[in-house]
């Protein structure tokens, strides 16, 4: 879907002031309320706004450690079956099939470095994963920063 600058401004407004009402936004942007409504509806319908939900932050409730694990899977099972098995583990936040030496990459949260070991053991215990190699995130500079990209896509 194509987005324009008004779309980007709307998303930015609702991102910066999450208590913004549609009416208030329309006043600030000097457009009709129905326009803001329509733009939001369209972006949600097209998936440009993928979700608009309270995002729990594991760091804030006892899981300060983040690691990226590169997994070599049991080829008998296939990627989908393995990702399904991984989805049963709450500490696994994200799973991609990737190019390169490994088959899958998983983002994993843990209570501590030693707790990460526990989670990795759970992953290995599924028998879906043959080998894993992890990289720990020592410091997260930023993440989920998609707004600048939306604005870049909106520019003419």
């Amino acid at each position: 879907m194509r987005v324009d600058e008004l779309d980007a401004k709307i998303v930015r407004l609702f991102t910066e002031e999450q208590r913004m009402s549609v009416l208030e936004a329309s006043r600030i942007l000097k457009v009709a309320r129905a326009t803001v409504q329509a733009r939001l509806d369209r972006m949600i319908a097209n998936g440009v706004i993928a979700q608009w939900v309270p995002q729990p932050e594991p760091r804030a409730f006892g899981f300060p450690v983040v690691a990226f694990c590169f997994l070599t899977i049991n080829q008998d099972l296939g990627h989908d079956a393995v990702s399904k098995a991984l989805a049963a583990i709450p500490e696994v936040i994200e799973v991609h099939t990737v190019s390169g030496d490994s088959d899958l990459m998983a983002r994993v949260a843990a209570r501590s470095n030693s707790d990460l070991q526990r989670v990795l053991d759970i992953i290995m215990a599924t028998k879906a994963v043959v080998r894993s190699s992890s990289v720990i995130a020592l410091n997260t500079h930023f993440e989920g920063r998609t707004l600048p990209l939306l604005e870049a896509a909106a520019r003419p």
Copy 2:
């Protein structure tokens, strides 16, 4: 912060029905409206709910390619200066300092595989990065799946 099962149920409700009102949620959970309000306020204040904003999805507006780039940086600059330079590039969605062979890991979005090359060139052109090695996400099975972890943390 400690979360209990009511907290998790509240987050789940607002995640599954994003048009849920606080009043409606209180009716469904059979608690007072003020309680739901108080729990939400507390979780937002403590960062358990990190953000509650419209999340743009790059895949939906022309950036279907996702890659994870492992960067070796120019040691003269330091991690923070480099991450700041990377933050100026809208295609860079996420940056972590990581353990292992590389210094930083960046999540990058692009319009296509060849467009990814363009983005990597921009990254290298900052002179902040000495070497990069990328892994392309061929298939995203799931991501941002933090709710199960919150529920696990809420269980007694």
